[in-house]
């Protein structure tokens, strides 16, 4: 009888472990999925300054995607950088910027690279910047710092602005 009990114990051990084990992976995404172009500002007068300090004195910056009803930054105060998500369905993204009663439109040409991450996270779309142009009276010139946009934070573009 003790032998039978021992056999039952031995046989039941893994069944308990198996039933108690968590065998399904995460169904929620735990990978950083905030992908967009990081833009920093500088005064036009600072150009060429080796100790360039980001300009952070916008008292009211408004940013809205062209073709999008939603305002991304609405009269934002003390802005030193902005984060601009790019379109994943086309290779051209445009943003309208306004501050100090000046308006500008930033045109961003980019490639989209679709990367499957997991069933929990779906596909990420990474970007490579091709060119940037503007039309308006706020931005003086544009400097591309890093053309690659992935899911980690880095400054991609510096905008020199008139005041």
């Amino acid at each position: 009888m003790p032998v039978v009990r021992f056999k039952l114990f031995i046989l039941s051990l893994p069944l308990l472990c198996w039933l108690m084990s968590a065998c399904s992976p995460d169904t929620e995404c735990r990978t950083a999925n905030n992908i967009g172009m990081q833009v920093v500002f500088a005064l036009d007068s600072m150009r060429g300054d080796t100790a360039l300090v980001s300009f952070s004195r916008f008292d009211s910056l408004t940013v809205q995607g062209v073709g999008n009803d939603s305002v991304l930054y609405d009269n934002q105060k003390a802005v030193s950088s902005i984060f601009l998500p790019l379109r994943t369905d086309t290779n051209l993204t445009s943003y309208a910027l306004s501050a100090y009663n000046r308006r500008d439109t930033l045109y961003i040409s980019h490639d989209n690279n679709q990367v499957f991450v997991s069933l929990a996270c779906g596909c990420f779309v990474f970007h490579t910047l091709n060119s940037l142009n503007n039309r308006g009276g706020l931005i003086d010139s544009i400097e591309m710092l890093n053309a690659t946009i992935e899911n980690y934070k880095q400054d991609n573009v510096r905008l020199y602005v008139h005041l």
Partner: protein
């Protein structure tokens, strides 16, 4: 399976050999019965194993099976079905085993081929909007290795029961960004911790 054929042929030529001690057939019940119950029918997996008893110490083993899975996560759904096979060998860890009571350790090389579809995969961002893409009717092959440990207990004459615990390492993880299978027949979830269990009923021929 092909590795077992020459061994089985040699054994049949020499039925009185002390080397050949018989063939064990094992039917898995943990994954076949409990997995569909635990996953509410989303996963079905059936498998059986056959091994050749050599010297009552070495057991060249072939395991074959079939799985199908219909699963979903936060950003998509996966449906796949296919077959798998594991080849390897078990070693009786006890010098003198009584009857068919054994402590087994072994290794396996597993492979699976399945047809699968990954649908409604979310893509985009919160500002410009999301849309979905589908990757359908794909054939996916995967390869993995296993280290196994198990117990076999004789329950009646030639019938025995037992279990295996397996530690699995997936060799075919796929290139970064490639669409891989969420669930792999015979292996389990691609991103699983690596451990799995088998619980089986067996008989000796």
């Amino acid at each position: 399976m092909f590795l077992l054929l020459p061994v089985a042929a040699l054994a049949l030529e020499h039925p009185d050999s002390v080397i050949y001690q018989g063939v064990n057939v094992k039917l898995d019940i943990a994954n076949s019965i409990f997995e569909p119950a635990r996953s509410f029918g989303k996963i079905q997996s059936y498998e059986a194993a056959v091994n050749v008893d050599l010297l009552h110490r070495y057991f060249p083993t072939a395991e074959i099976g079939y799985s199908q899975a219909d699963l979903s996560a936060e950003s998509g759904s996966f449906r796949g079905k296919g077959g798998f096979m594991r080849l390897g060998v078990d070693l009786s860890a006890l010098r003198k085993s009584r009857g068919n009571n054994m402590l087994l350790v072994g290794i396996r090389l597993g492979t699976a081929v399945q047809g699968c579809s990954t649908r409604d995969v979310l893509l985009g961002n919160g500002y410009w909007g999301y849309y979905t893409v589908n990757f359908v009717n794909r054939v996916r092959a995967d390869v993995w290795g296993e280290v196994t440990a198990g117990v076999q207990v004789q329950v009646h004459k030639d019938f025995h029961m037992g279990w295996y615990v397996r530690y699995k390492i997936l060799f075919s993880r796929g290139a970064a960004g490639a669409v891989t299978a969420y669930y792999i027949p015979g292996f389990g979830y691609k991103d699983d911790s690596g451990f799995s269990f088998n619980y089986y009923l067996g008989f000796k021929i």
